[in-house]
């Protein structure tokens, strides 16, 4: 059901290729697929419609008919449209000139407010601040107790008392001033956005403590209703940002897009695990890939950007395209890849990689073996492997502590892989954009 959007597009375009032309009718067919993908990811149906409109304009403007790789170009347009919709201005926390900086947490029942409060407290602590948590959820049994336990885990004091939510919040503010805490995080009870009484209560809390930041906590698994919830809370509290929780599941998280589109406020943080430390700044690019069911190419690119030497990488890419990629270049690139972390993790981010390969156990020591073999060659041999005869093979095997058969295997596979790379290397040029796609390949595994 959730087959990657790119696969579907390839299918459509393959069918269309025969007709030779890409007119508006064909684009409409593609847009329908995009709509289905968005709706499957729980993007609100109205938000999806607006987005599709935008995407259509761009598709028409892009003149897909002339493109050699229309599928990839459409994917790029869609991806960019999603990133634009999800991203925009990031939230920058400015601390109140007269401390404490007050943060109010709100949301539906079970969205993860209490956990998010503790995680946020830890985050502020890491920024060198001294937060105080206030347990103003007097509704759910033992909610304050939960906050106290979590507070202890992150070593942040927790204030609460069994009075009323509004009083607790107000007193919490006094307490923060008295103790000299510079950030105040107020956890409130979960409430339905249509519960007039409770919405009024949270408004009174907000009026009494005048928060500098009001965050809505939204479950990443939320469906179509996310827009109603976000709209109501925004009307009552005028939100400053959204915290997306439970992003460690496999929900595609279209709710994030819906909420962002409706409220227009940034998604500030994402909660990505059960541990207190599993809390991070939100990445629109990654969310966009996720909604589309694509691999996390952008995290990969980011990692590559950190690890790779730009000039070398560009040269390598150029050589790839021309088919002049040698073992020497391969060795150099390998050094960069090693900086990116375990291979297994990197594979997980590659799009278009078959499941079998993703699951395959990959031993990073294999890398060392490949490296040893290449390093046992002379520079001349690396540049032109065809000069490697039988006695050279034996020398290389002995030098690297491997068998001759290993050397043979490496040489043979390098040849095949070079051919494959030459093919890939041409891809991105036609695309002229980021987000390269690997064509589906037959790996024979």
């Amino acid at each position: 059901m959730f087959d990657a959007l790119s696969d579907r597009f390839e299918g459509i375009f393959k069918r269309l290729r025969g007709r030779g032309r890409l007119g508006e009718a064909e684009i409409d067919e593609v847009l329908r697929e995009i709509r289905v993908a968005l709706l499957e990811a729980d993007v609100n149906v109205r938000v999806a419609r607006t987005l599709i409109g935008r995407i259509k304009e761009q598709c028409l403007a892009a003149d897909l008919a002339k493109s050699l790789t229309p599928a990839q170009q459409v994917i790029k347009i869609v991806h960019d449209a999603l990133v634009d919709a999800l991203g925009g201005a990031n939230l920058k926390i400015t601390y109140a000139s007269k401390p404490p900086t007050v943060v109010l947490m709100a949301g539906l029942q079970g969205s993860g407010k209490t956990t998010a409060s503790a995680k946020l407290a830890r985050w502020f602590k890491q920024q060198g601040r001294h937060p105080l948590l206030v347990g103003a959820d007097l509704q759910r049994p033992a909610a304050v107790e939960q906050l106290r336990v979590l507070g202890k885990q992150v070593d942040v004091p927790v204030f609460s008392e069994p009075s009323s939510a509004v009083d607790v919040a107000g007193k919490g503010l006094d307490e923060a001033r008295r103790l000299g805490r510079d950030v105040l995080i107020v956890d409130t009870a979960g409430r339905l956005h249509i519960d007039a009484e409770l919405m009024d209560e949270v408004r009174r809390i907000s009026e009494s403590i005048r928060p500098d930041y009001t965050f809505l906590v939204v479950d990443a698994m939320t469906g179509q209703d996310a827009v109603n919830v976000a709209e109501s809370f925004n009307e009552t509290l005028s939100l400053d940002g959204v915290i997306l929780s439970k992003l460690d599941g496999d929900a595609r998280g279209g709710a994030a897009l819906s909420v962002k589109e409706v409220v227009g406020k940034p998604i500030a943080f994402a909660s990505v695990g059960e541990k207190i430390a599993d809390f991070e700044a939100f990445h629109p690019e990654r969310m966009a890939s996720r909604i589309l069911g694509m691999g996390d190419v952008l995290t990969l690119i980011e990692k590559a950007e950190e690890a790779f030497d730009q000039e070398e990488a560009e040269q390598a890419a150029a050589k790839l395209a021309k088919g002049q990629f040698t073992l020497e270049d391969f060795l150099a690139q390998m050094q960069q890849i090693k900086k990116m972390g375990p291979l297994q993790n990197i594979i997980g981010m590659l799009p278009g990689i078959p499941k079998e390969l993703k699951k395959a156990e990959i031993d990073d020591r294999e890398l060392a073996r490949v490296e040893a073999i290449i390093r046992s060659m002379t520079p001349q041999e690396r540049r032109d492997p065809s000069t490697i005869n039988g006695s050279r093979r034996l020398r290389i095997a002995n030098g690297s502590g491997m068998q001759t058969s290993d050397v043979n295997q490496l040489l043979k596979q390098f040849k095949e892989v070079s051919k494959m790379m030459k093919m890939f290397g041409k891809g991105p040029k036609g695309m002229r954009g980021k987000g390269p796609q690997l064509p589906s390949m037959d790996l024979g595994i």
């Binding site: 079970g110 049994p141 469906g223 590559a304 690139q333 991105p428």
Partner: protein, 368 residues
């Protein structure tokens, strides 16, 4: 070695291409909020072996069988139905069935979280009916859709299964924050009011203060509570609860479990173990209820699949249906997996947890 080479090649291609592409127009990195540095050692729960079950005996007080009028399903649902009704109103306002009619119906169903797949199937069948039965008026069309929806929800027995004899174990499972503990509290109170003796097992040993939350409910329901230590082994808690229930002649054991994402293999394995342990004599597992938040989108179906695979779910509890969410995912769960919705949460009060009524549910969707 093949794999390594291919992977290396792929990475080089992606990495290299990224540069060629981004070098030209390297976008300013979002400054935004900086991610926190590497986590310090996360708090580890104590080893599961260390379990000190202190059977806190909360002697059941005499519970007065409160006779509270159950809330009318439709009244409660009706509060926030206007959205769906808006589409239906638009359909009915037209004199014929046209393309717009179908678009409206599609949008209405999708907004109810029925899902694009389920919606397409439903409307496809409806279109066939329109042709074969000669439906021409929007009125008749809506009635036909209602009938289809009711049909797809009809069938299975929705009562909570109780077998006389050894203690019945009802296991409550689900992802985080759906309302498992609250549901147990309400079920416990209702069962007690019906004259069954109830024991609650605080099997959520992970979430801070989950046991305290359940303890409050046990007190309200006049039920006994068996709990372990925080971070302890949930199966041990359930085991002790069943033993105790058998020894003291309790009718029902309501076993809470920690919320867990269905994608966490270890946690799902832990849940399997809880069920295995609960199944052992003297206990018998007669219900495994998957609690799902009505606001859940299409992921709800994946949840239901995974949980069923792990612990053989017997029914769904759809919570928080008193909001604006329509809970259409329940439709997909029943038609795809055959798991019926048994209970519905319509509010915070004990009596707001009611038996699911498919006819009323469908009628409420269309009410203006």
């Amino acid at each position: 070695m093949t794999v390594v080479l291919i992977v290396l090649a792929a990475i080089i291609v992606v990495g290299g291409a990224a540069f060629v592409a981004t070098a030209a127009r390297r976008r300013a990195r979002h400054p935004g909020i900086e991610a926190p540095p590497a986590p310090t050692a996360p708090p580890k729960p104590p080893p599961p072996e260390v379990l000190t079950v202190e059977p806190e005996v909360v002697e059941p007080e005499a519970v007065e069988p409160e006779v509270v009028e159950k809330p009318r399903f439709r009244e409660r649902l009706g509060k926030a139905r206007s959205l769906f009704a808006g589409y239906v109103g638009a359909v009915l306002s037209r004199s014929t069935i046209d393309d717009e009619t179908w678009d409206d119906l599609e949008e209405a169903l999708i907004r109810a979280d029925v899902g694009i797949h389920g919606t397409t199937v439903l409307l496809h069948e409806l279109k066939a009916r329109v042709k074969s039965e000669g439906i021409t008026t929007p009125d008749a069309l809506i009635e036909a859709l209602k009938a289809d929806l009711k049909k797809s929800l009809a069938g299975p027995d929705r009562g909570l299964r109780y077998e006389p004899g050894p203690p019945n174990v009802w296991l409550f499972v689900g992802v985080n924050g759906v309302g498992k503990t609250t549901t147990i509290g309400k079920v416990g109170k209702q069962q007690a009011a019906e004259g069954r003796s109830v024991l609650m097992a605080a099997g959520d040993t992970f979430r801070a203060a989950a046991a305290e939350q359940l303890a409050t409910w046990a007190e309200r329901a006049g039920a006994e509570l068996v709990r372990g230590t925080e971070g302890g082994d949930p199966s041990a808690v359930v085991f002790d609860a069943v033993e105790r229930a058998a020894a003291r002649g309790y009718d029902v054991v309501l076993a809470d479990t920690a919320g867990r994402l269905h994608t966490k293999v270890n946690l799902m394995e832990e849940l399997r173990k809880v069920r295995r342990v609960a199944e052992k004599a003297p206990g018998q597992v007669t219900e495994v209820l998957l609690v799902i938040d009505a606001t859940t989108g299409q992921n709800g179906l994946v949840q239901a699949k995974q949980f069923t695979e792990a612990v053989d779910v017997t029914g769904v509890v759809l919570t928080k249906l008193d909001g604006t969410a329509k809970g259409g995912i329940a439709l997909a769960i029943q038609s795809d997996l055959g798991i019926p919705v048994k209970l519905v949460g319509l509010g915070e009060q004990v009596d707001d947890l009611v038996a699911f009524d498919p006819d009323e549910f469908v009628e409420a969707l269309f009410e203006e």
